[in-house]
Symmetry: C2
């Protein structure tokens, strides 16, 4: 349930019907977890938002972003002591008909504050099963990695299953490469090495994925980004999904394939638990 | 300039910040030209909207669509005698956080009425030059052809040029196949045959393109949908772009390549002129 909404800083605001976020998905978003009054991966969220704005030529005002987040964090702290999820949508703002980016367009900021979602504890302790989505991601390096508002592929992939047995889905690209989950990133372990499927052609570059890849070497785990074909998953030692809300879940099964919740996964889960408890990050 | 707006039938309405059109581009749109009180391609617009809704599992209420259009057409007729452009956006409606399609979601309808755009008359009489866009379209057969709200590729392609010399851009897919313009479809003539680049992998299946392909045989022109590589354009006899607002423009140049405004293009332009004047269609 959404606890509070602001549009361009106004509580309970609405979005004008000429907004290019609505018309074209012309914008970006971030979903930021707040735990005990702290947003552990805030710097990575802000870095991705800035990079996305640069790639979409969107005139991001970082001071407005910080004011928006401060306002939402303050309300979350009042209400719950500082737990919540803040979703920030930044669109190109209003436009006339036509794809051309209007001169001097003014971005629109929508902020939604929700409770932290409650996932089953067993997802982390035991592991999860992934639904093997038939939906494929199109490849477009110009949009790859961005958390932009064109998310119909994720909507369709997520619509493929309704059975709560599947905590997440596995999504491949049009050429059969493993890319990500519908709302998480995928990481694999092969011969002790942490392998992150490449996001050079499609997919969302999640901040938890980025944080884990940066932390792993200090935990004695080598890391590598690589193209991984769906058929190669049979030869993988461990598999996991991660995002900034739930952290890291071992993946036990997807289709006919089975993996253990192995030692590398467990070591990374410990690091995430420490991050969430306040041991690291901003 | 936008002349009138309705959101779910309410004049001057706004869109709630939880709308999934805004969050994910989860919806469809149609841009319908009204000329002398008639919408010549209305049936094709409605057919595409219904097909898109089926493919996106969106619970379209066609009676609401017809009421929306009747309302906008009535205002256009009062104001201008019946010329205008009606843009209808149908989103999935409001949702909570997450990609999952909510049970019983209620689509939101946004209707925008504008004046018919004024294009230079020379675009049709003499022809146009296309900007060769570097932006490539990702391939995803599950979304191909739909006029959905995920249009960042078009936004980025259209942002590549600012010189009014280029009336439109030419956009290829990631594998170098010619697909479309940024706001129009492309048609070619080879050995007297009308060739429409395939939209099986990406692109928007324009209603004018569809109408022309249906009309051409009765004008003695054979038609074919085919994959066309960008490098094959040098061996094309005529080239044109079309959409339901401007009709059909001969393409004279794109990059180093030149084409004449040839006889097949002119015959099809005559058919469009007749359509716009009231000679055909619904």
């Amino acid at each position: 349930m959404t606890r509070a909404v602001w549009v361009d800083g106004m509580a309970e605001g609405a979005v004008g019907p000429l907004d290019r976020g609505l018309a074209y998905g012309d914008g970006l978003f971030e979903t930021i977890a707040l735990r005990n009054g702290r947003a552990p991966l805030l710097d990575l969220h802000l870095a991705r938002l800035r990079e996305g704005a640069a790639r979409l030529r969107l005139a991001l005002d970082t001071q407005r972003v910080q004011d928006d987040l401060a306002r939402a964090f303050a309300v979350a702290t009042q209400r719950t002591g500082g737990d919540g999820v803040v979703k920030l949508i930044v669109t190109r703002g209003d436009g006339a008909r036509g794809y051309r980016i209007p001169d001097g367009s003014m971005p629109r900021h929508v902020v939604l504050l929700d409770d932290l979602p409650a996932f089953p504890a067993a997802n982390a302790t035991e592991g999860v099963e992934l639904y093997p989505c038939a939906m494929r991601l199109g490849c477009n390096p110009q949009l790859a990695g961005l958390k932009h508002l064109n998310r119909l592929e994720q909507v369709l992939a997520r619509s493929e299953w309704d059975d709560a047995r599947f905590a997440e889905g596995l999504v491949c690209d049009i050429d059969g490469r493993v890319v990500e989950g519908t709302f998480s990133n995928v990481l694999l372990v092969q011969r002790g090495e942490l392998v992150a499927p490449s996001l050079a052609r499609c997919g969302v570059a999640g901040v938890m994925r980025r944080w884990l890849l940066a932390q792993a070497p200090s935990l004695g785990i080598r890391v590598r980004e690589a193209d991984v074909l769906d058929k190669d998953l049979a030869r993988v030692d461990e598999m996991m999904v991660c995002n900034s809300l739930f952290g890291l879940w071992p993946v036990l099964a997807c289709g006919a394939r089975r993996w253990p919740a192995g030692p590398v996964t467990r070591r990374l889960q410990d690091a995430v638990a420490e991050l969430f408890a306040g041991g690291e990050g901003a």
